[in-house]
């Protein structure tokens, strides 16, 4: 169980959630932010922080956003473009910094698909 960032974040990346995450488990990709499900402590700080309501508790995800669960996880378990191994659990987005990569799911979203753009 974890919090999940959905496609409303794509091409927005407000990052208010990153400033609030006490364990620094929200990582920055090229077009979106991703929550590391193995590092999230489920405190819920990110959810109300998001100005575009992109963050959901996974048990409360609407059916049409369920793909976000796998996409958030894939950012850490799959080898992202331009990297030689998965990110895994770096335990801190601060030291990793922004990455010029996205999951296949996010990369394939058309620009402007986010409901708020």
């Amino acid at each position: 169980v974890t919090y999940v960032i959905t496609e409303a974040c794509v091409d927005i990346k407000d990052k208010s959630c990153m400033a609030q995450c006490p364990v620094d488990c929200i990582y920055e990709g090229r077009r979106a932010l991703y929550i590391n499900p193995d590092e999230c402590i489920e405190c819920g700080a990110c959810d109300p922080a998001c100005p575009v309501e992109a963050v959901f508790f996974d048990a409360e995800l609407p059916d049409d956003k369920l793909a976000s669960i796998d996409s958030n996880a894939a950012f850490f378990t799959e080898v992202l473009p331009g990297r030689s191994e998965p990110l895994g659990t770096p335990r801190g987005a601060k030291k990793v910094g922004p990455l010029e990569a996205d999951t296949d799911y996010v990369a394939a979203l058309a620009p402007g698909t986010s409901p708020s753009s």
Binding site: A19, Q20, C21, P22, V23, D24, I41, E42, C43, G44, A45, C46, P48, A49, E53, F57, A59, E60, K94
Partner: protein, 456 residues
């Protein structure tokens, strides 16, 4: 050059909970080797409400400790335990020892209801109960849970924690870090039902839907909600949090009570009017409410009495003013501008800052303190760039001169190891030590305590 320029900035942070520690982290992030931070706490144990507030059956949230530990273990940070501001140390002492001071002592006082009968035996604050089941050394006497029926006033996550802990099968709790004495009392508990009482309707409840869902998963407890409370058509402009809560409540609408199962009654649109009893709580009188246009609860002069033997008020917390620091009694906060302490006339108190609940009031979650610390530390750094660095004395010398003993991070590690060892012996991860003398004895029983605070 300003006095003291060239040496590291010395900052004293009072309070080793999340707000104080995130302030220390922000100082380290911004100033690196240019800062030395002492985190001072009245307890020999760090982590504040993560240790003593977060419910013991929420280990995932408690795991934020591994982040907080990393801050405390930085070589630019020292932990000074067992030192209470206003008793062991005056604000003037802090001003002599540090270039800047950040107050982060939170909001430990429970708000009162201001109704007759509030002081009867059996009427308690949530903080007393939460302190007790979390093994806070100030909790003092234990709670004999001889009440069969309990009312919890308040519609936030603290009320939910209290209701869940009081009804949950103690065998589920036996795996937590609660002190053995607390588990013993929970095992003997007579509690059969808890009424969670909210002033306004379900759409206004401040419970988080995630915590409600978690309560839903506690199968041994019946969740009872009155269909009339869900009958009113909800306004369309509800925010997502309210809609998510209503969805959980709807799921409980048709739960039928099971014989023998403990019950949580979720009750709405009721406000406490009086607690009645001969020496101890026997009845709680409630008035039905409606909500006016501004969203406030108003009485309807329709009264309801419920038989309870315990009333827990979970209606919010207030800060305590550190003596010698400006404090607004009304709001329970230290008045400030972007974290700079100001007096009640708005005049800045130089070198003094505030963060966390003491600054903004008791709202938000653990992570909210990170953003808060960023604002306060930003103000501090802006100020210190141009100001002289007045610190002339070391905290050790001031405390030694006053004949005060303190505990160290090594002392906390002793306590930590002792609790883990106790837990292993009892077949769980940790078993908390709740006794002041025992905590102090274990924390002091370390040779390093004879040397300066961090041995540097």
């Amino acid at each position: 050059l300003p006095a003291g320029a060239g040496r590291a900035l010395r900052v004293g942070v009072v309070g080793a909970g999340p707000s104080g520690l995130f302030a220390a982290e922000e100082l380290l992030d911004q100033l690196g080797d240019g800062v030395q931070v002492d985190v001072i706490d009245r307890l020999p144990t760090p982590y504040g409400l993560v240790r003593y507030g977060v419910a013991p059956d929420h280990p995932t949230i408690k795991s934020v400790v591994s982040t907080l530990r990393g801050i405390l273990e930085s070589d630019r940070v020292r932990f000074v335990g067992g030192i209470k501001l206003g008793e062991d140390l005056a604000v003037s002492d802090l001003r002599r020892c540090y270039d800047a001071v950040i107050y982060a002592t939170g909001a430990p006082r429970a708000r009162s209801l201001g109704i007759p009968g509030e002081h009867l035996r059996g009427s308690v604050s949530a903080s007393d109960l939460v302190n007790w089941y979390n093994g806070h050394p100030d909790a003092g006497a234990s709670f004999e849970l001889d009440a069969e029926s309990v009312a919890v006033l308040g519609a936030g996550n603290v009320a939910l924690d209290v209701g869940r802990i009081l009804t949950r099968d103690y065998r589920d709790l036996a795996q937590t870090d609660m002190p053995v004495s607390v588990l013993d009392n929970l095992r003997r508990s007579n509690v059969k039902e808890v009424h969670l009482i909210a002033r306004r309707g379900p759409e206004f409840a401040k419970y988080s839907s995630k915590e409600l869902r978690e309560l839903g998963k506690v199968e041994s407890v019946d969740k009872i909600i009155c269909p009339e409370d869900l009958a009113a058509p909800s306004p369309r402009d509800l925010d997502r949090a309210a809609r998510a809560n209503l969805a959980v409540f709807e799921g409980w609408r048709n739960e039928s009570p099971r014989a023998g199962a403990r019950k949580i009654h979720l009750r709405f649109s009721l406000r406490p009017v009086e607690i009645i009893g001969n020496g101890r709580v026997e009845q709680l009188i409630l008035e039905r409410t409606t909500v006016d246009e501004s969203g406030q609860a108003c009485g309807t002069a329709e009264f309801v009495a419920i038989k309870v033997q315990m009333v827990v008020r979970a209606v919010g917390y207030l800060g305590v003013g550190p003596s010698g620091v400006p404090f607004d009694e009304e709001s329970g906060r230290v008045p400030n501008l972007l974290g700079r302490v100001v007096d009640l006339d708005g005049v800045t108190a130089p070198g003094q800052y505030v963060t966390g609940w003491l600054k903004r009031g008791p709202s938000g979650v653990i992570g909210t303190n990170k953003v808060d610390a960023r604002e306060t530390v930003g103000a501090l750094i802006d100020d210190c760039r141009d100001l002289p660095r007045p610190a002339r004395q070391s905290l050790e010398s001031v405390l030694q001169h006053a004949g005060r003993r303190w505990t160290t991070y090594g002392g906390w590690q002793n306590i930590d190891r002792a609790e883990l060892a106790r837990g292993r012996a009892e077949g769980r991860a940790r078993s908390k030590i709740a006794d002041w003398c025992e905590l102090n004895d274990i924390a002091m029983n370390v040779r390093a305590d004879m040397s300066p605070i961090d041995g540097s």
